[in-house]
């Protein structure tokens, strides 16, 4: 029973990490209709930035996460118009061109990380690293709990932004129809650029927590890109709400399979289940977008 409860906690906390990773990705797909291959790259760069801030300036990740958020908001905002330009290109299949474009960005990030930080794994220390909370037989790692809480905070903040602000209204209008939103006076290009900025900021912030929980090296990007894709597909591409359900479901499934069936089969069963769900509900768990 103790192991069962611990597995429950482990699963929920893994879910938190998956939600953190995917929430911004969903937003950018919902609004820009871009499948951003660089999602793992932003995660990796967020982790490395936190690594630099903690080693060079001694800034704890729980403070540097705000700096990382602000920095990547600006970077994403700067890159946003380019993504928008590629996505709305008059040439054939701009959706595929955007995918290829973000893949190029991802490769650039990976090469840059190799050059700057070499191949070795780096861990990011925080005041909460290795700290835990014991509740009877269950141990709750505080870093993972923080990531989970942050995922909830991200989701809440995003919902407030989307449903309680004029900017959010413009974002939702864009998600529904770019042309109509433009005709109603929404500055499509500008809002799209800010959405991309919010996405990179959220994903890089998730990277700070992920690097603190695990470690970061230039090859982790592809791993997180895959995870973000799978959570997003299960959630229903573009559905921010669905990410919460899908992230938790995948986290719990992975934890229980690894504990009671065998870790070797965890990803096989998780992704097998994902394909089955998609056969039954191809629009994702909530069946709708933003």
């Amino acid at each position: 029973m103790d192991l069962f409860l611990q597995t429950l906690v482990n699963g929920i906390l893994i879910g938190g990490i998956l939600i953190c990773l995917t929430i911004g990705f969903q937003l950018t797909f919902g609004v820009l209709h871009v499948i951003d291959f660089a999602v793992g790259g932003w995660t990796m760069l967020g982790g490395y930035t936190a690594y630099w801030l903690v080693t060079l300036a001694g800034i704890d990740p729980f403070i540097s996460i705000f700096l990382v958020f602000a920095l990547f908001l600006l970077i994403g905002r700067g890159l946003g118009p380019l993504i928008y330009h590629v996505r709305t290109s008059r040439y054939a299949r701009p959706d595929l061109m955007a995918l290829a474009f973000t893949f190029g960005i991802f490769l650039f990030m990976r090469g840059g990380a190799l050059w700057l930080w070499s191949y070795n794994s780096r861990s990011v220390d925080s005041v909460l690293s290795g700290q835990f909370l014991s509740l009877g037989p269950v141990t709750i790692p505080l870093m993972r709990l923080s990531a989970f809480l942050l995922a909830m905070l991200f989701s809440l903040g995003l919902f407030i932004l989307l449903y309680r602000s004029r900017f959010g209204m413009a974002v939702r209008a864009l998600a529904q129809n770019h042309d109509h939103a433009g005709l109603m006076g929404v500055d499509v290009k500008r809002v799209s650029a800010w959405v991309y900025g919010i996405y990179t900021a959220l994903t890089a912030s998730a990277g700070v927590l992920i690097a603190t929980i695990y470690s970061v090296n230039p090859s982790v990007g592809i791993r997180y890109t895959l995870f973000a894709f799978f959570v997003a597909v299960l959630a229903g591409l573009g559905s921010v709400g669905g990410v919460l359900v899908a992230g938790l479901a995948l986290g719990l499934l992975e934890a229980y399979v690894a504990t009671y069936i065998g870790a070797r089969y965890s990803l096989l069963i998780v992704f097998g289940t994902l394909y089955l769900v998609l056969l039954v509900a191809p629009k994702g768990v909530l069946g709708r977008g933003i």
Partner: protein
């Protein structure tokens, strides 16, 4: 006398001069080659494995520098300097094979020194076989390299399944009655799986009770695995994987309030990067190393293992690890084989085949340890002689703790703060 410059005379003289040079150059070239042994190094000088690739280069270069200080390799009383040529494998097997072919055809090397990773080695060894150029590999550790029974390739580091197997036996013998159970986990990928398999074999050979053996995908979150280990709490936990998995295991275990009584991993734990990244948590962790500077081995060129370490430190500014040591010892193997071959370079294809036979018959003691290549079985042409040392991290230092002849300190068991 007419000293007038004539175009016809100029052209005739130029033609004669060029002809003489063209005819004379090969003779000069052959003459130059006669006095040197041309060694080609295929390794990853760029790409993801460039760090390890450069370690191999350092090891090979250090040997070349030292032997050239003496005038070169001694054959039949005469010394032949060594000339090094480099081919960048770019961390890709196919590029490694191309680089090897270039070294053999364009640079006309007499012998190859092998790549950093087993993957590149597997791609390069058919090339060495095709052109019958002996290759001494200072770094390949996967048993798959030797399963192919390469006629011209020789591996200095015992395959990972041998080292992990032997190290677990050594550890169990040292712990005696204090350890009765063990669990083995590993990443489900070729190298890590072979490491884990070796640990499992060692557990069975040493009579320990194997509580669990589990492989997991490289991308797994380790919390479930650590929770299970915490629940069963074996006396020894062995992990097969690479450095990032080790770091993740240590941090996940710490976050879940679990500290195994003994945690043994593989070579990566002895690297400065691992110790830096895990900080005080690395204290007490056990690793496996086929070579450390504290081992009681020596030879004529480098002196003792400790002398080699000092020499390498003064040359490169960092302490050598087992990879650098094995690569430098590759040169000692070539030296010994060339001396026994007794034929002056350059070596034609037939002579190179004789050289390969001489390398196969190697039986020497070096600062790196004993070298002798298996002539049959699943580890064909792998140096199976070294007995790995079990090392333990103590306050950031890597200290050999077993077997007895290599020990420089007490094995701390259980690790303080154990669950």
């Amino acid at each position: 006398m007419n000293h007038k410059f004539s175009r016809r005379k100029f052209l005739r003289n130029s033609l004669l001069g060029t002809g003489a040079m063209t005819l004379g150059f090969p003779a000069l070239n052959v003459n130059a080659k006669e006095h040197k042994i041309r060694v080609g190094v295929v390794t990853s000088l760029s790409g993801a494995n460039r760090f390890g690739g450069n370690l191999t280069r350092r090891g090979y270069d250090l040997w070349a520098e030292e032997i050239n200080k003496l005038g070169g390799i001694e054959i039949e009383g005469k010394r032949y300097p060594v000339e090094m040529f480099y081919g960048d494998a770019q961390s890709r097997p196919a590029s490694g094979a191309d680089a090897a072919e270039r070294l053999i055809i364009q640079d006309e090397v007499d012998v190859l020194f092998g790549p950093y990773t087993s993957g590149v080695t597997l791609a390069v060894q058919p090339i060495s076989q095709k052109y019958r150029v002996p290759m001494i590999s200072g770094s390949a550790e996967s048993p798959n390299v030797w399963l192919a029974k390469p006629a011209f390739n020789f591996g200095m580091i015992p395959a990972v399944d041998l080292t992990t197997d032997k190290s677990m036996v050594v550890l169990a013998e040292n712990l005696g009655d204090r350890a009765k159970t063990a669990s083995v986990i590993g990443v489900d990928e070729p190298f890590s799986k072979e490491t884990a398999e070796g640990f499992r074999k060692g557990v069975e050979e040493s009579g320990l009770d194997l509580l669990s053996y589990e492989l997991f995908p490289a991308n797994s979150d380790l919390s479930a695995i650590v929770s299970k280990l915490k629940s069963s709490n074996p006396d020894i936990v062995a992990v097969g994987g690479h450095e990032d998995i080790f770091i993740n295991f240590v941090s996940t275990a710490k976050a879940l309030n679990y500290k195994p009584k003994a945690l043994i991993m593989h070579y990566g734990v002895t690297s400065a990067a691992f110790i830096n990244e895990t900080g005080p948590e690395s204290n007490g962790i056990l690793g496996v190393s086929v070579w450390t500077e504290g081992l009681p081995y020596k030879d004529e060129l480098f002196g003792t293992a400790s002398d080699y370490s000092e020499l390498s430190f003064s040359r490169w500014g960092t302490r050598p690890d087992y990879t650098e040591a094995a690569c430098s010892a590759s040169g000692l193997v070539l030296q010994d084989a060339a001396r026994r071959l007794g034929k002056a370079p350059p070596w034609d294809q037939g002579t190179r085949a004789e050289l390969a036979k001489a390398i196969e018959d190697t039986d020497i003691e070096t600062f790196y340890g004993p070298v002798g290549f298996a002539k049959e079985g699943s580890h064909y042409h792998n140096n199976t002689k070294p007995v790995p040392a079990v090392v333990q991290i103590k306050s950031g230092d890597v200290v050999p703790v077993a077997p007895e002849n290599a020990s420089k300190g007490e094995l701390v068991y259980p690790i303080p703060g154990t669950s």
